[in-house]
């Protein structure tokens, strides 16, 4: 007995493994990435430290260290051993260098002209202006756009640059110059502050609920009920027709819609003689785009509800229909008093299942409008995808994308729990009260 108890667990182990590998891990990783600023710029491995235009801007903006930022952005000229050695290597006259060292070692100049002036003031100065320029270039010092592997290297370089930093300044410096990813909650702050987020949210709600109510549940019900009252052959035919979009490959299916809507497509061709300008009907206006998006999704989405509702209606004993008939119910009354009450749970099921799947599906929108025109049909999942995985400029924001995805995951889990409560599985699975 004890063994058989474990046997079940063993048999379930592959399933657990699948759940962990293909569900939990992605969710956890999304959760982790959502709290980072990973992007193409940071890479997904570690980074280095670099003083750049943008990091100095950040130093000014975030840490109010504009003085330092200004200095670090500049090029200075310092007469140091390194420069002198390099000049010796280049074959500059030793006398010149000795004199330069004696007179200026350790001095810095803000301007090139100042160094050149210093060199010119030497007794043993190079003869040509070109040589002077060349020599002065060897003392050019800058920390700009140089990658340092560690912050120690960076600080050493800055030190040498002649700008010793305090501890607080160092912290700020390493913060702004680090080019790798760091953990941060900025993604969520950004999400809240961006006006686009609200637009996307409204788009998503509109998309999900209109498609759900009009097609995935509403139209599916209409189909299921009307085929119920047909004879078996026509009912089967109608149901098959509505299954076609579902079994057509999505790319092909959307392509057909696009062909329908193109400026040289069906609609334009047919409406042309009626005086309508040929145009891309799908991307013409946001309203048109939405109409197409909802139609495209709805035609596919209605079939599942239709199947579930049809089989639920079939499961109603025919005697109930007979009884209601002799009780005087016409078809509308049968639908209202017999069919719909019996479909309560299928409707609830489809509603919840389809909310979740509409919430996360964006493939048809991506294929049809790519969120256009002008982001009018961009829904949350699509934004996530575009931000994290596909961007015209090639700058992918993994961290921000993951944060967006995390919101979807949280909403999804919350809705699932809510629906489970609504379904009230306890009463559904309760033993019948009649023996």
């Amino acid at each position: 007995m004890g063994n058989s108890k474990h046997l079940g667990l063993y048999m379930l182990a592959p399933a657990f493994l699948f759940v962990i590998v293909f569900f939990l891990t992605p969710v956890l990783l999304t959760g982790v990435f959502g709290f980072t600023n990973m992007s193409t710029a940071t890479g997904i491995t570690g980074g280095s430290y670099m003083v750049s235009q943008s990091s100095m801007q950040a130093l000014k903006d975030r840490h109010d260290l504009s003085e330092i930022a200004k200095k670090l952005s500049q090029v200075i000229y310092t007469i140091d051993e390194e420069g002198l050695n390099a000049a010796a290597q280049e074959g500059v006259d030793a006398g010149t260098l000795a004199e330069l060292k004696a007179g200026f070692l350790g001095q810095s100049f803000q301007k090139r002209r100042a160094v050149e002036r210093a060199i010119k003031s030497l007794d043993n100065r190079p003869s040509s202006t070109r040589a002077i320029k060349k020599l002065s270039a060897l003392f050019e010092r800058s920390v700009l756009n140089i990658r340092y592997d560690t912050e120690v290297d960076l600080f050493a370089a800055i030190d040498k640059f002649g700008l010793p930093l305090s501890v607080a300044e160092k912290t700020a410096m390493s913060d702004v110059t680090y080019t790798g990813w760091v953990f941060t909650t900025d993604n969520f702050k950004r999400m809240i502050s961006l006006p686009d987020t609200m637009t996307t949210l409204i788009n998503t709600l509109f998309y999900v609920f209109v498609t759900l109510i009009v097609f995935n549940t509403g139209f599916a019900l209409v189909l299921a009920i009307s085929t119920h009252y047909m004879d078996a052959a026509s009912a089967g035919f109608f149901r098959s027709v509505w299954l076609l979009p579902r079994i057509t490959p999505p790319v092909l299916y959307v392509l057909m819609w696009k062909w329908l809507a193109w400026d040289t497509g069906f609609l334009s061709t047919v409406l042309g003689p009626l005086g309508f300008e040929p145009r891309n009907w799908m991307l013409d206006t946001p309203a048109n785009a939405w109409t197409f998006i909802i139609l495209i999704n709805g035609m596919v989405g209605a079939s599942m509800g239709m199947l579930i509702f049809s089989s639920a209606i079939k499961a109603i004993p025919s005697s109930l229909f007979y009884a209601s008939e002799v009780d005087g119910a016409n078809r509308m009354q049968q639908v209202r008093h017999i069919i719909l009450p019996q479909l309560r749970f299928p409707i609830l099921f489809i509603t919840s299942y389809q909310t979740l799947s509409l919430l996360t599906s964006f493939e048809y929108i991506l294929l049809a409008t790519e969120g256009g025109p002008g982001g009018a049909t961009e829904v949350w999942a699509l934004t996530t995808y575009l931000k994290a995985l596909s961007n015209y400029a090639g700058a992918l924001e993994y961290g921000y994308g993951a944060a967006l995805a995390l919101v979807l995951v949280v909403v999804g889990v919350f809705l699932s729990i809510l629906y489970l409560k609504l379904f009230d599985f306890k009463t559904l699975t309760a033993p019948p009260k009649i023996e």
């Binding site: 005697s319 008939e325 002799v326 008093h337 009649i434």
Partner: protein
């Protein structure tokens, strides 16, 4: 209300289930459609209530031809074999449903539902759902729903088939009581001859879509028109012997059993091959024509005891006896047949 089926024909595709049936149900009468499974009883019932469209003939309610009227407009009450209560409605809503569809005022519906619930004794169940009721209670609700709008005819399709034995007995008399109290015309479909005999004013016995005989229960029992009817009615059932009429007697050649017959039957059919039906109550110790056999089976039914007696040729006669006799299985007995009550049928099954 009187119901008339006039040459009513019903077929499903190529299969003709009922062919030109004629049946008149008198006003206020309860009639049984009795027959084996698949003989077309439910089909007939569903044609009367309009669920099935007929393929030929007419159906009249009173003098009104309802053949082409939908079931919604026929004003019939039907109790289905499975009761067909609406599972999502309370008992009260179930019963009130036909009235609600007619848009009767809520108060009036409530009053009528309570009246009828009282009549079928389910006042206390009104707020339950069908799933919370026992079989007998569901039956009563179904009955109430069928009766609440005072239908022209009450149709019952095997109403007792889904109940256990004691409930069946109780509901048998309940249904009859309610039918008599309301005076409604009723059709009871059943395959159980006891139900048909005990509940109905008349029985129409059906075989393969035809009404074989229609008469009062007692008369059908005593004067069956065919061996089919004789075999269908009576429990324990009638037993048959095959033989020939010779010289005023029925003779079974293999065993030599012979029974004297009434003179006019015997002379008219001399030499004819016949089947003789003997009911268990007419095969008793001490009766006239003696038959020898061996007791092969004994069933104590309480008040009475049933004996199966096997004749030498393997035929079985049944005897039901009130007093308990000391006979055991395997005993040889010689009991007599009351020849005044034997039923004689020709080879075609028809009564002679």
């Amino acid at each position: 209300m009187r119901i008339l089926l006039d040459n009513f024909t019903k077929s499903f595709g190529k299969l003709t289930v009922i062919d030109q049936m004629n049946l008149e149900i008198h006003d206020g009468e309860m009639i049984a459609l009795l027959g084996g499974s698949g003989c077309g009883k439910s089909t007939t019932l569903f044609a009367i209530c309009g669920i099935h469209k007929v393929n030929g003939g007419r159906i009249l309610f009173g003098d009104k031809d309802v053949t082409n009227i939908t079931s919604q407009e026929r004003n019939v009450g039907v109790v289905f074999q499975s009761f067909a209560l609406y599972p999502h409605m309370t008992v009260e809503q179930n019963i009130g449903f036909p009235l609600k569809l007619r848009k009767e005022p809520v108060e009036q519906i409530k009053r009528k539902v309570h009246e009828i619930a009282e009549m079928v004794h389910i006042e206390v169940l009104l707020h339950r759902r069908p799933g919370e009721l026992s079989g007998g209670q569901q039956q009563r609700v179904a009955l109430a729903r069928a009766l609440v709008r005072r239908p022209d005819v009450l149709l019952l399709d095997e109403p007792l088939a889904n109940l256990d034995a004691t409930l069946r007995l109780e509901m048998r008399s309940e249904i009859r009581r309610i039918q008599q109290e309301t005076g409604i015309t009723a059709v009871l479909v059943t395959h159980d001859q006891v139900e048909a005999m005990s509940m109905c004013d008349r029985i129409a016995i059906m075989d393969e879509g035809k009404i074989v005989q229609i008469t009062e229960p007692r008369d059908m029992y005593v004067n069956p028109v065919s061996d089919f009817v004789a075999g269908f009615l009576g429990s324990p059932p009638i037993a048959f012997l095959e033989g020939r009429i010779e010289d005023g007697k029925f003779v079974e050649p293999s065993t030599g059993v012979h029974m004297p017959l009434s003179a006019d039957v015997a002379t008219a059919n001399n030499g004819r091959e016949v089947r003789v039906g003997i009911r268990p109550e007419y095969f008793q110790p001490g009766n006239g024509a003696m038959i020898k056999g061996r007791v092969s089976f004994i069933e104590a039914q309480g008040r009475e005891t049933l004996y199966n007696v096997m004749l030498p040729d393997g035929n079985i006669l049944r005897s039901i006896q009130g007093s308990h006799s000391p006979v055991k299985i395997g005993d040889d007995v010689e009991w007599g047949v009351d020849t005044a009550h034997i039923l004689i049928f020709g080879q075609d099954g028809l009564r002679i």
